[in-house]
């Protein structure tokens, strides 16, 4: 499966970034998400304590999985760009595309988590180690995207963002450690039952599995398309001026 866009510059002949492979992934994703809907909303049982609220889990857990997967891909692609001999720009675009997707699904995770928390704990937010780390991670990757948006040459952008992407790998365990230590030393009597470690019913577990598979496919599909779009943006920046000049010349030819 190649990451390059199907037709390099001839955007006039074909619009879109799909190939047969991505179409297949796309169709599979839709089917799996349909299945997730069926399993999550109809087949899986309501929870004894939480009732139907437990169904948020089928979106919440797969999306946090997707976000973490995306950030791992960003880190790996950053390392490939930085340490690889060719300083592959494709790796840089994959890193960028993956981080964008990760940020979106981290937001989905936070929002669904808050809604779920409001229903089961009675509050939207709790200063628990996992939640706090997730929120800081979310902000860090927004920072990463801001670095990608900085002015400068493309290779400069790629190197800067690769370093920031790798520094984030250093940051995550430290932030997690500190927040955990903070909460463990300062744990006040909690009124909320945060113990979500419920033993999952077999069908629930299977539905969750369907969700994880569906979201992994979704990630793959989004990543392929988004990195192709980024390739096209880079290409159009490269050829855009030439194309514009040629177009003006053609216009001149027609009217003259």
């Amino acid at each position: 499966m190649t990451l390059d866009p199907p037709s390099t510059v001839s955007t006039t002949s074909r619009r879109g970034t799909a190939t047969a492979a991505t179409r297949a992934v796309g169709v599979l994703t839709i089917v799996m998400i349909g299945w997730l809907g069926v399993f999550g909303l109809l087949l899986s049982p309501a929870d004894r304590d939480q009732g139907d609220a437990v169904r948020i889990m089928y979106v919440h857990v797969p999306s946090v999985w997707l976000a973490y997967l995306a950030f791992i891909v960003t880190a790996l692609a950053s390392a490939v760009h930085l340490f690889g001999k060719s300083h592959s720009m494709q790796a840089d675009r994959v890193a960028g595309a993956s981080a964008e997707i990760g940020v979106v699904f981290m937001a989905v995770t936070l929002v669904t988590g808050m809604l779920w928390g409001r229903i089961t704990w009675g509050v939207y937010w709790q200063w628990d180690a996992r939640l706090t780390t997730t929120a800081l991670l979310f902000i860090s990757y927004i920072g990463y995207l801001a670095v990608r948006g900085l002015e400068g040459s493309r290779s400069q952008r790629a190197r800067r963002s690769a370093i920031v992407g790798l520094l984030a790998v250093l940051e995550v365990p430290l932030v997690h450690w500190s927040v955990k230590l903070w909460r463990s030393l300062h744990q006040e009597a909690t009124v909320l039952g945060t113990d979500l470690d419920v033993s999952l019913d077999g069908l629930m577990l299977f539905s969750l599995f369907v969700g994880v598979v569906a979201f992994t496919l979704l990630f793959l599909w989004l990543l392929l398309h988004r990195s192709r779009v980024l390739t096209m943006i880079d290409l159009s920046a490269e050829t855009g001026l030439d194309a514009a000049l040629a177009q003006r010349r053609a216009e001149g030819g027609v009217t003259a």
Partner: protein, 222 residues
């Protein structure tokens, strides 16, 4: 080389006196504003460590911006590069100069908090406060130097730098605040509770200092 860069930064500071004439007053104003916002002596005494470190973090953003503004203003960083300076030496030099300035600021803030927020600093807590502040400062300085180097010379860096540094610096804020709390005995804490935080702060400082010295060259290099 490290010493030359550091001495240069400190000399610029000594001559321009921005730290004493602008940043220190800003930090103290922040403390006064905290007092207005959190009306009540008991609350202030309880939250003083956090307030000191928040004021510190915000003021440090200004110092860091300045530390790199002087480099990019007349293409000084390019001149260093053309001169063949080792970029990791430049990193260590700027890192150390920043530490010196931040520690001066910390002393002022802690004294300010003692006077204004009514903290009594115990002698046993003093050792903890000094060691934890030094390691926190090393870490903070490293992180700030990395990201300020990255953001130097681009438009919109003033708003980008806090976005990049503050989430990464959150372990420093947590660790430094908790150990300062133990040192001040705020909220009935005892000094021994502060020591575990020193480990965290030291690891943070070591990781980001060495990470920074490796990353700095490629970051600055165009």
């Amino acid at each position: 080389m490290v010493r030359a860069v550091c001495a240069k930064d400190l000399r610029i500071e000594q001559r321009s006196k921005v730290l004493t004439s602008q940043i220190m007053p800003f930090a103290l104003v922040t403390l006064v504003l905290f007092a207005f916002a959190l009306d009540g002596d008991a609350i202030l005494e309880r939250t003083a460590p956090g307030l000191v470190w928040l004021a510190m973090l915000f003021s440090s953003m200004i110092i860091v911006q300045r530390s790199f503004a002087v480099e990019t203003a007349d293409g000084a960083l390019d001149a260093l590069r053309v001169a063949g300076a080792d970029m990791s030496a430049v990193f260590w030099g700027k890192w150390f100069a920043l530490i010196v300035q931040l520690i001066i600021l910390e002393v002022v803030l802690v004294v300010g908090a003692i006077v204004m927020f009514g903290i009594d600093l115990r002698v046993s807590g003093l050792v903890l406060l000094v060691t934890s502040s030094i390691s926190a400062t090393c870490g903070l300085s490293a992180v700030s130097t990395i990201y300020a180097g990255l953001a130097s010379g681009v438009r919109g860096r003033e708003s980008l730098l806090p976005l990049l540094v503050l989430p990464v610096a959150s372990p420093v804020l947590i660790g430094a605040t908790r150990s300062a709390e133990a040192a001040f005995g705020a909220g009935g804490t005892v000094v021994s509770e502060g020591w575990p935080w020193l480990g965290l702060l030291s690891v943070f400082a070591v990781v980001f200092s060495f990470g920074g010295s490796l990353a700095f060259g490629p970051l600055i290099d165009d």
